[in-house]
Symmetry: D2
Subunit: 308 residues, 4 copies
Amino acid sequence: METELDLSRWLEECRAFCAEGMTADYIPALAKADPRALGIAVHALGHEPVSAGNSGNLFTLQSVSKVFTLLLALMDHGEEGVFERVGMEPTGDDFKSMLKLELVSGKPFNPLINAGAITITSMISGASRAEKWNRIREFIASLAGVEEIGFNEEVYLSEKETNYRNRSLAYFLKDSGVLDGDVEEHLDLYFMHCAMEMNCAQLARAALVLANGGKEPDESGGRQLVPRRYVQIATTFMLTCGMYNSSGEFAVKAGIPAKSGVSGAIMAVVPNRMGIGVIGPALNDKGNSVGGIRLLEKLSREWNLSMF
Amino acid sequence: METELDLSRWLEECRAFCAEGMTADYIPALAKADPRALGIAVHALGHEPVSAGNSGNLFTLQSVSKVFTLLLALMDHGEEGVFERVGMEPTGDDFKSMLKLELVSGKPFNPLINAGAITITSMISGASRAEKWNRIREFIASLAGVEEIGFNEEVYLSEKETNYRNRSLAYFLKDSGVLDGDVEEHLDLYFMHCAMEMNCAQLARAALVLANGGKEPDESGGRQLVPRRYVQIATTFMLTCGMYNSSGEFAVKAGIPAKSGVSGAIMAVVPNRMGIGVIGPALNDKGNSVGGIRLLEKLSREWNLSMF
Amino acid sequence: METELDLSRWLEECRAFCAEGMTADYIPALAKADPRALGIAVHALGHEPVSAGNSGNLFTLQSVSKVFTLLLALMDHGEEGVFERVGMEPTGDDFKSMLKLELVSGKPFNPLINAGAITITSMISGASRAEKWNRIREFIASLAGVEEIGFNEEVYLSEKETNYRNRSLAYFLKDSGVLDGDVEEHLDLYFMHCAMEMNCAQLARAALVLANGGKEPDESGGRQLVPRRYVQIATTFMLTCGMYNSSGEFAVKAGIPAKSGVSGAIMAVVPNRMGIGVIGPALNDKGNSVGGIRLLEKLSREWNLSMF
Amino acid sequence: METELDLSRWLEECRAFCAEGMTADYIPALAKADPRALGIAVHALGHEPVSAGNSGNLFTLQSVSKVFTLLLALMDHGEEGVFERVGMEPTGDDFKSMLKLELVSGKPFNPLINAGAITITSMISGASRAEKWNRIREFIASLAGVEEIGFNEEVYLSEKETNYRNRSLAYFLKDSGVLDGDVEEHLDLYFMHCAMEMNCAQLARAALVLANGGKEPDESGGRQLVPRRYVQIATTFMLTCGMYNSSGEFAVKAGIPAKSGVSGAIMAVVPNRMGIGVIGPALNDKGNSVGGIRLLEKLSREWNLSMF
């Protein structure tokens, strides 16, 4: 109760910062979101979830989905299989950058930049695109604790038609032999999982499973949905590369593994303690939710959430 | 007569250097060429063409065609129209590099690197792809002094299917707003003109027209096929950017405007004096014909061809 | 007892990997170190330190000292003062790289790459170089729990005379206005603190203070040597940028904040649990101790040390 | 007579463009120059020199001197000796860039960018700095047709004290083994020859010697001051790299080998026809004289000076 009051108060304080950002303009369907919206759900282990602000708003996952496909690829191919194809290093460049692909290695530097995430998507097992897509949906639904995950077809079609930069990246990867098979099919699946739709409570529940080492909370059955080691890998990447090229700053200021998307979503995982889902469509120049970052930094200070 | 004997002797001397190079391996149809082949035709103003070595071999134009499409685009849109879309600077990077597109400007640095040449191809006027293609063919045929230019369908299909790097470049340009319209259509036309086929005599005749300021030699009718100013522009680019990222070295050593292709073709223009066509499929690590470069450097020294 | 036996066994297993590396060859005085040496000291909170292998060997701190000067600069200027001058992001480039300084910003990306560390050194307060130097020595001695820290004059002079790349970096920073004052004086102080000398037990004790949130262990008096927030900042950088451009990989594989130096030293901090000091002069191509990394990864798995 | 009238008229037309530029602000002594000044001297073979505007103004050579030291280094070490140490390619980057040194090769790309020119300066033969300096002065005086070349001590001291970026470049080159010996001594000699002082007539006379293949005009004695081949090399570099990173554009628009300096000086060589000296301190963002470039482009069109 007190927590919920605090949360609301802090959220309203941070909402002011939304005015400093802008919604993503390169995907028409994202540009329409309300730049003043800010919502959060916090799901602590052994507690009921609490929420504040526009936490009921639906949003597409965008880059947040990269964490889930990374986990699935690890479950499909193991650590070695995945790291044959993508590296483990932050780049210092923006998420769509191709510099290091040309300058250093055709192998994407890590699984959370676009080049790496497209490669990871291409590795999801399945006899057909439909089967791969079903596996992704079911896996994410199990993390979010729902029967079925939403899908925003308008956003999907909008990205599929206009995202020439990701198409450029994918053909570059095909050229260097990193991507096998049909580039357009991989891109299609990538755009599809970016367009999956959630609210803050669902995102916080998925984060909670990761905070709990891959295990559902006991009240939902306590099943191990993901091997603990893979959760460890994913949250490490969230800390070092999860917030685009301000991951380092967010680690210093908040110290929490988190992954952002250009819809304004952020999923934050506080190991052994809680999962957090945030939405705030106004983005800073790095592509992160302005209000969301401020709110998570506030929570980290107030509740002492930093891992360090 | 004496010229022809000299030419044969020098060519045989330079043939030895072919062993230092390799045929282009990324286009299967090019990899099959004879790496020991070396041929040349020299067409001086007011003289009969002379030739030596494997000058009768057919070869695809590859990047040599970029000079011709540049001329056509200049005739279609004028100087200002063309340089709104591409720059005028050498890059210091390899021909397929995307670095400067990301680091400096989405606008290609010059019309002879791949990014610039694809942009130029997209500007060729015509109501349909067929019309554009016919205009390119007829224009090049007029320069080469033939009824019809050959076309190597195997090479075209091979590039179209496997050239993922050019596809990556083109989608990057689409993303930055440099390319309008249908990317795949532009790429298709680009691969088509790269696959046009000639022999050395035809290439030397086209070079001669440029050496003659855009005018046919008198014995062919003396028509002005290209405005003199556009020839001046094209030969300037040949000198500063025509030999990939060893253009500077070739300018110092030979001092002749020239354009090479990964088939091993080189077209060289000695203003007011002669046109030269060379074929030598063994390439150095920059993508230039090893034997061809040596032979042109030799001719430059023997006949004092440097512009400087 | 058992711990010590385990430690010795694991160390000997990892010693084999030393053969894959080489001692730093660009500093003559470092090149002479024994490439087969491998030593470790582990100091857990509330326990006596344990050690194994060549833990008594003396080594210079090199880049490990960057963590200490960062702490001192934070104590001198506060968070805001420090981050006006250096950023918070990993670079993805090697430690001596100047690329991002030219391409992105004259401000160094983080305080642990050379450009950032030289900037930090220039910020240490003191009326004279001697006073600055004394402050650094006394601060580090207090962390290591000794009266006085050693200093290797041969290494210092060797670096001072031959380290042209750091001189190049420093003048670049002077040119962009990041460095104030006398470049040579800042470099001199930088080379001096890189040449401070320790053994594994001393390094483990310094790490323990950081693991303990900046407080001495109770048995040494329990004084707060560094404010907790600054320790948090320093260990965050150790995790995201501490192991040169394989920091991301070390975070995934070991998950422990650590800082390496080209002497083969590594200082590792396991928050709230233990401090570790390692020496192993044989380096991999990124500049990290080959045997040291293997040993820390082993400890992380065996003792479950990952923060994630 | 008519020529002089034309020249004055065109110069006054171009003077208007000076307002678009600014004097070099990073060297205090250069910043004081009159931004409205524009002067030219044209010295055609077999004719008396003509001049217009502020042609009597004195200016320091700055980067124009790089052409002269290149010639002297070629005379000291031959073609092979020089090109062991510097390359032949344009970079596409600005004159002080270090990118390609780190990304491609420690060897400077060409002798006219700062990295290459500092290397060339280090190669000038002489038992002492004084002897080297005398050799440079005497050589340039012979080209300019004067007893003694001026020297601006204020500019020299200003650059020596503040040019940290060139110092950074030089130590980088020392680190990669490109520079031998004492870096500060090489830099000193470099700053000295950049500070040599001329007027337009002297610069035009030096250019005329190059236009005449290295030979003095007959009326001055007709001695071969520089071997013809070395002049050919120098003018080739002037065309491909002489106007910083707008060399390509100047080649397309004017087609004349030329070298600019940040004092606003330009030396232009029209092979076999004329030498031109220009001064106009207002610079564009690439570091070239705004009015000077416009004036040379105008002359090229009016007098048909393009080599192409």
